[in-house]
Subunit: 246 residues, 2 copies
């Protein structure tokens, strides 16, 4: 059985912390990680401040198998992710020859000036590998276990599609959901007992509130189909017994 | 002029990290903080694991004026936030007399059993103050600078409404937006110069990608209306001069 593979995400950008932009990348990465069998264990949203990015990158890259960042790799002065990642790894941040040539040719072919701002998008930590950007060309990059990608969702998603096949993946956390018409206060006690007798599952209870009533989504997760089914059956039986008038 | 007041948010829950539930609370807190003049400096999403919650709470409560948490205060076994917060503060987690009596009366009046699961919602760190919950009664709580609230968005928002009037607020970060039909590669250089000559502003550039074209939203932020207007005018003038054919 494959082992557990873990990941963290860093969302870099003042605009998320100010509320101006609502993040749409966390949910996407979470979905993809779950689908391929990598456990997303932590997400941090940090401002466009070099020290903060460096500290966060170094904290999470030491703890998890993979780190994924979004944001801060464009051409403007507030795009400081490449420099911060280089600093975190203790390497220089320089023009990457291949990225520079690629962008230079791209803008030349369109008759667009290759400004200093556009050249910034060719900068990356020395030793980094490209992450191709099929949307707008300027590449992301990988250094060590850190994957640096764009914040614009369409570009982030396209870059992530290119990264996914390169990742080692672990035992998928399988899941099964039991819809429960009862509130958590009713099923909480029995559910605790089921969790105790099914230690190879993770049972989550997600309260839903609609039109003044609580109902609950009960999610059983496990690494094997057998453990999953045993946990799911126990939860479903409990819900059925409590839902049926005595 | 009021000083800077800072905050961090902890989103607690496996369901966010697995992608099953898409967070809707980060954007709301960010909007409210910006509106009242508190700088949200960091957000962390952590799993339902006591050690992780304790470490994250202790890391952020030492650094920022306020901490806001969402999630993990319901009646089921995976709701461990109250215990984790108590552990972070080095105090016991016990039934709160007032919360217990309130919930007991509430369920009695509805003829609903006050189960051990429901009683869990009366547990909080010793010394914590209630945060009223007008939606479903079970209170959140505040201990020190940490405000512990529900993860269900309707309840989180109602609790936050009760917390906001109790917070000291700082100098609001005012903002002005300039829509720019040009991509960042074109305006990046001039924008860097404007940022340098307007050090009392924070100028952000947010690339938008639509129908195969880039445009840019330029956001100037400042603590005084004068600095804001000077920065905004400079940015608007730059955009106008580059947008007009020579």
């Amino acid at each position: 059985m494959p082992g557990i593979v873990t990941a963290a995400m860093l969302v870099i950008g003042d605009e998320i912390l100010s509320g101006r932009t609502k993040d749409r990348n966390i949910g996407h990465l979470a979905d993809i990680m779950t689908a391929i069998g990598i456990d997303l264990k932590e997400v941090r949203i940090v401002p466009d401040e070099e020290d903060e990015i460096v500290a966060a990158v170094n904290a999470v890259r030491a703890r998890y198998d993979y780190v994924f960042t979004t944001g801060g790799i464009g051409p403007t002065h507030d795009d400081i992710t490449a420099d911060a990642i280089a600093k975190a790894f203790g390497v220089a941040c320089e023009y990457d020859g291949r990225a520079y040539a690629m962008l230079e040719a791209h803008y030349a072919s369109r008759g667009v000036e290759f400004t200093d701002a556009r050249k910034r998008m060719a900068r990356m930590p020395v030793g980094a590998a490209h992450i191709d950007n099929p949307v707008s060309l300027a590449p992301g990059f990988r250094i060590g276990n850190v994957h640096v990608m764009a914040g614009v969702p369409a570009i982030f998603q396209a870059m992530l599609d290119n990264v996914v096949p390169t990742l080692k993946t672990g035992a998928k956390l399988l899941s099964a959901t039991v819809q429960c018409p009862l509130g958590e206060g009713t099923i909480g006690g029995p559910l605790t007992e089921i969790q105790k007798t099914h230690p190879d599952t993770i049972i989550g209870s997600y309260p839903k509130y609609l039109d003044g009533r609580f109902w609950t989504e009960l999610v059983v997760r496990a690494r094997t189909p057998e453990a999953l089914e045993a946990g799911r059956a126990a939860v479903a039986a409990m819900v059925a017994s409590l839902s049926t008038p005595a």
